[in-house]
């Protein structure tokens, strides 16, 4: 019994940032990188299933990313996952969710997991593409934005709730193996223990190239091309300046003015 969890290393921008010379991305000097917030929840969900099964389940973490992404992978391993797979090739530098899904599909074919989790979306770009594109490529059952899961390892079906607009949830059963994208709040993710962090450094990680997976660069082209990236026009907000006391006084004025409503 095996659960494969795909995780992403996301990038946040420093308070000030500059564009790359080609104008198609932010200069990488201004990135701060971290494990995608959603992936804390999907890793936790896999760990809960593993623990409920008395450890009779293996949790494998897969990440598509360069050496830098090793940090995010180890963060997931530090929470108790068993081993990792990291796939990288320069041809993946412009990869989008569709291209990443093509790589993950090969990883799934190799690993043959009983269940695949992804995050509902990535916190940096919010594409919400990768997991369900992966399912489409595999031809597997799939549902996005899962906020509750009842699944016993190896079972033929799982009961899930998917979270809809306005806090309404739909209860459905789904055939397994399946690809589920996991929503924030499905559980309370654990923090890695110091021991876990230490152990994560020793855990086995397969480093694979596209070639190892039998993929060519032509098979991982993105479904869209970035023409340009730019800072949106700002300046709609009128800035209230001064000391905190002055700012608060002005805010209080605005509130009182409008509260007479």
């Amino acid at each position: 019994m095996k659960i494969l969890v795909a995780v992403k290393q996301v990038a946040f921008l420093d308070d000030e940032f500059e564009m790359r010379d080609d104008g198609r991305d932010v200069d990488a000097d201004f990135f701060e990188k971290d494990l995608n917030e959603f992936d804390h929840f999907s890793v936790e969900e896999a760990m809960l299933i593993k623990e409920a099964a008395g450890d009779a389940a293996e949790v494998v973490i897969a990440i598509i990313g360069d050496e830098d992404a090793d940090d995010a992978l180890r963060t997931a391993l530090a929470k108790g996952a068993d081993r990792g797979i990291r796939v990288w090739d320069e041809a993946l530098a412009d990869a989008d969710g569709v291209a990443v899904a093509r790589v993950l599909a090969k990883v799934v074919e190799r690993e043959k997991p009983d269940m695949v989790f992804t995050g509902a979306q990535s916190a940096d770009f919010g594409s919400a593409v990768t997991g369900m594109a992966l399912a489409g490529l595999l031809g597997w059952p799939h549902t996005a934005v899962v906020c509750n899961l009842d699944y016993a390892p190896g079972a033929g079906t799982a009961t899930i709730r998917r979270e809809l607009e306005g806090g309404l949830e739909e209860i459905m059963t789904i055939r397994c193996p399946a690809v589920l994208s996991i929503q924030l709040g499905i559980n309370q993710p654990r923090y890695a223990s110091l021991r876990g962090i230490k152990q994560a450094k020793q855990k086995p990680v397969d480093e694979l190239s596209l070639d190892d997976l039998g993929l060519s660069a032509a098979e991982v082209v993105p479904a869209a091309r970035v023409r340009r990236m730019y800072a949106p026009e700002r300046g709609k907000a009128e800035l209230i300046t001064g000391s905190a006391a002055e700012q608060a006084a002005r805010l209080a004025e605005i509130i009182k003015e409008l509260r007479g409503m």
Binding site: V98, G126, V129, H142, G167, A223, M229, P232, I255
Partner: protein
Amino acid sequence: MAELLVIAAQRQGELRPSTLEAIAAANGIRQPGDTLAVAIVAADPQSLVGALSVDGVDEVIAVKATDDFQPDLTEAVILALAAARKPAVIAAAHGVDAWSFVPAAAVKLGCGLATDVQALRREDGELVATRAGYAEKVLVDLDFPGKSTVLLTIRTNVFEPAAGTGAPRVTEMAAPAADVATTHQGWKPPADAGGIDIPGSEFILSIGRGVGDESNVEQFLELAEEMGATLGCSRPIADNGWLPKARQVGQSGQLAASCRLYVAMGVSGSVQHQWGMKHVETIVAVNTDPEASIFSIARYGIVGDMFEIAEELKGHF
């Protein structure tokens, strides 16, 4: 001459209003001679034709199946329509339903794909879609070289919903065969609000992850009361159990429907939070990050620490 196709969404037999925004987005990139068709999958699709008969819609494709959401079925519908009609663009609202079926359909079609699109135009005849990136701090223009079909999901509350009364042709389409792997079992409505009324409040003070710790929440409850505001929050605060879900503003929480003054402290301004408050006439944002996207929708901005501002606010009321 090309065909534009919109995939409508319904829930429990009711049209999702965001469908009309997807129709408007598709209409906006229409070229002379193009036609626009809307496909609707439902138990009684004919009952939704009226709601879809808005300006610009030339044809409604009625697929009689079930009101249950079945991503596998919707994908089969898209694949069948794409094969038969070779649409240049297929658009759907970027709602939770589309998250399940759009990417899967896109890889099966091998088409272009952009999600959460907030602007569309043609540059030298080529379709260009704009979406946000890096937590809404940048915009990205995307194009789709070599793709004869492009699938798009359209951000809600950006495009003015299509209105008017058209007289589209109605085409009935038999539900295609699909290997449906999901079975609807029921609904779980949101928990009782316990007297907290975000939709009815005219003045909301809202706190986000900037509050840092559960022990810091109480002082904002007190401040809200002092100011005569209802305390709202962003999702992580509710997910952590620091405040009840009924206080959560946003797509999966409450719509601040009656609000006229929204003071957001330590909220970054994610698209899902904006969903619940972007429309508010006067938004004041307090955030330590001058680039936080909340400032792009706020009327007033304070670049500063929410605790200092909160402390200084006390006593003004």
